[in-house]
Symmetry: C2
Subunit: 402 residues, 2 copies
């Protein structure tokens, strides 16, 4: 938790990953993020992984540090409350994050009629409003076709919801960018962030769109790094390490550490090329190089290789399971200052992460857990809408809030 966004208020009416992760990033940088859900929870309230009691570890992971109000969104009076929250006055507010469809009661037009300077960030599936999730978009842009062992033609879905995660962070950038403009010009903005457009634009930015137009689809190549040197290798003690060498220095350090400098020089002499000067040639001729590396790894224990790689400035990683990492990797988890062990709404106590960014020289503030559903309903109604305790009591009596 840092204070970069102190004094801002974001109202979040969103579910699943992209929208809520955007809200999470705001909350962890100090903004007051108010999430509204329908009474009993939205469509992500029971999303797996869950505890034996059915409490969602996913929901409580993605909603840390937010405030929660539960509203009966099935009735017009409840919907009016959600609109009133999204458009509540104040320079610090007017920031609305959602994945409701544009055709819903939470359209930008409906909100802007109440608050003209509102900034709406709408995370979407397809840009045309058709439903999509990370995995359906990923199939459509061909990533599963490129992923997996070269000897197996089956498409491989990613497990990490990469487009959702990118969507949350990009939406957060778009919202802060629109706020910078609003602070100068007073203008609001209606911003749409479709997963389909995130995927299409990313593949353009990475050069992949140009590549397939020039040379057709890239063949599947398993774990081989495209266009330079990189792959996984197995050590004498049966550990699997990945090494990557893109720059000349990474390459020379790797060769020196594995005592392969002379053997590789012999291949260079035979072919009349320089692997050091042209990273792409390490990829073109990888079938010549890989056996040398396989033998070098197979002859050495990981306990010898790992410190030698560190000393040689090699870029490497060890394959481990997430459980191994969470319980045994000091840099990632067990001694990572991002993590604080706190009690979550499920009743479980476990370590959870604050913001991924570190602000050097600024203290990390205590990590706040996710709210219980509706934990802050009364407080939010009083603060944002100015309702007194009698009015709030009537909303409870009518079953409009919980």
């Amino acid at each position: 938790m840092y204070d970069l966004l102190n004094g801002l208020r974001v109202v979040e009416g969103a579910a699943f990953i992209a929208g809520p992760s955007c809200g999470l990033y705001f909350a962890q940088m100090g903004a007051d993020v108010i999430r509204f859900d329908t009474i009993g929870g939205g469509p992500d309230y029971r999303r797996w992984p869950v505890t034996p009691n059915g409490d969602s570890l996913y929901w409580e992971g993605l909603n840390k540090g937010k405030r929660s109000i539960a509203i009966d969104l099935g009735r017009p009076e409840g919907r009016e409350l959600a609109v009133a929250l999204a458009t509540a006055p104040g320079d610090e507010g007017g920031l609305f994050l959602t994945n409701y469809p544009e055709r819903s009661f939470l359209s930008h037009a409906a909100l802007a009629a109440r608050r003209p300077d509102i900034i709406t960030v709408r995370v979407m599936g397809w840009a045309d409003g058709s439903p999509a999730v990370d995995y359906t978009v990923n199939a459509a842009v061909g990533v599963p076709d490129m992923t997996g062992p070269a000897d197996d033609p089956r498409p491989v879905n990613h497990v990490l919801p990469a487009w959702d995660l990118l969507g949350g962070a990009y939406a957060a950038f778009a919202m802060t960018s629109a706020l910078l403009r609003r602070r100068t010009t007073g203008e609001g903005a209606e911003i749409r962030v479709p997963l389909s457009d995130l995927a299409a634009s990313s593949l353009s930015h990475l050069g992949s769109v140009a590549e397939v137009l020039a040379t057709g689809d890239r063949p599947r190549m398993g774990n081989d790094l495209f266009g330079a040197f990189g792959r996984d290798f197995v050590t004498a003690d049966a550990r699997r390490l990945i090494v990557v060498a893109i720059t000349p220095r990474q390459w020379s350090g790797l060769l020196a550490t594995l005592d392969l400098t002379a053997a590789v020089a012999a291949i260079e002499a035979e072919l009349g090329i320089s692997f050091a000067q042209d990273e792409g040639l390490r990829f073109v001729h990888r079938a010549r190089l890989f056996p040398l590396f396989e033998a070098a790894f197979a002859a050495r224990d990981s306990s010898v290789l790992k410190p030698a790689f560190d000393a040689g400035g090699v870029t490497w990683g060890e394959y481990q399971t997430l459980h191994q990492a969470v319980t045994g990797d000091a840099r990632l988890f067990t001694a990572n200052p991002l993590f604080q062990t706190i009690r979550h709404p499920s009743g479980l106590t476990y370590p959870a992460s604050g913001p991924a960014a570190t602000l050097a020289g600024e203290p990390r503030r205590p990590l706040a857990p996710a709210p219980r559903l509706g934990e802050h309903s009364d407080q939010i109604l009083a603060e944002l809408l100015g309702l007194d305790s009698g009015a709030i009591g009537r909303l409870h009596d009518q079953g409009l809030v919980a």
Copy 2:
């Protein structure tokens, strides 16, 4: 190209994906992004994919709309120029994006000594400064262990550099957030965004850290969606479609479209459960459900299924290769208003993407290609450092800029 960040200036001394994609996002939202490279190009200047001439489609994809200055960074006078650019005066400046190590001449301390309110965003590998790239971090957090067919134990690296992409977008959010604070308090910030911490925090936010602590590693499950219903199926005409049903409505729409409502109700009656009410049960009992779906897909052509899915509100996608998508998918590429066909520095003319976000009601401005290396050297030296043509000429004569 939109104008949200008009009037801002970001100096970028970065390479590869995370840093340059962050700069790209700023440029495509209207900021003046000045990238400096060493004369002849940095370590990513020849990164694959490349044209037959060796021009990098990757480099020109990630640097669209930026200005370029080439400096001899091997000499103290050249380094001094880079520091002077990063710390150039003006409220619009003082935003520096880098992946140089902190121990380099571009340390935050060195820059802040010249401009106390500078905001430095440093994209890193490991948080402790050790080298890492997307793929080595991914191996360490266990994603390759979870990815791929359940009948094959080999770890599967992702092809999409998901952590790099997330890093670029999150770094952009962090920089705009720090700028919002600076506009209020005048403070600068030193922000570190390590790929290792992005991965660790994301797996916390998604509930995966809590999950492995509670129940150990999640078994590999191929393309099956975890915790709800989703998988790829093959149609009568041998097309492969993915369907996902998380909400009750997605589930009922899917069953109705495939005429499976009665068959699934029979399983529910037998087991005494409701798949509609508990998405997790669709996952628990997927071995019972999948054969029904396999048969239903195998009996229908994709030309029948796709419009039926759309009519039924089903969330689905079709597996296609990137080349198929780029050349044939109207929504993603061929008729997507994000894309404009422009001439790039490689000399090739092809469609490339503007910002992934759409600002409704605001025109997309013309897409600017990547610069040629050093294309704006003289202009940048004049504008940022106030050098006259004589001084600039002397820098060229000394070989310090190109």
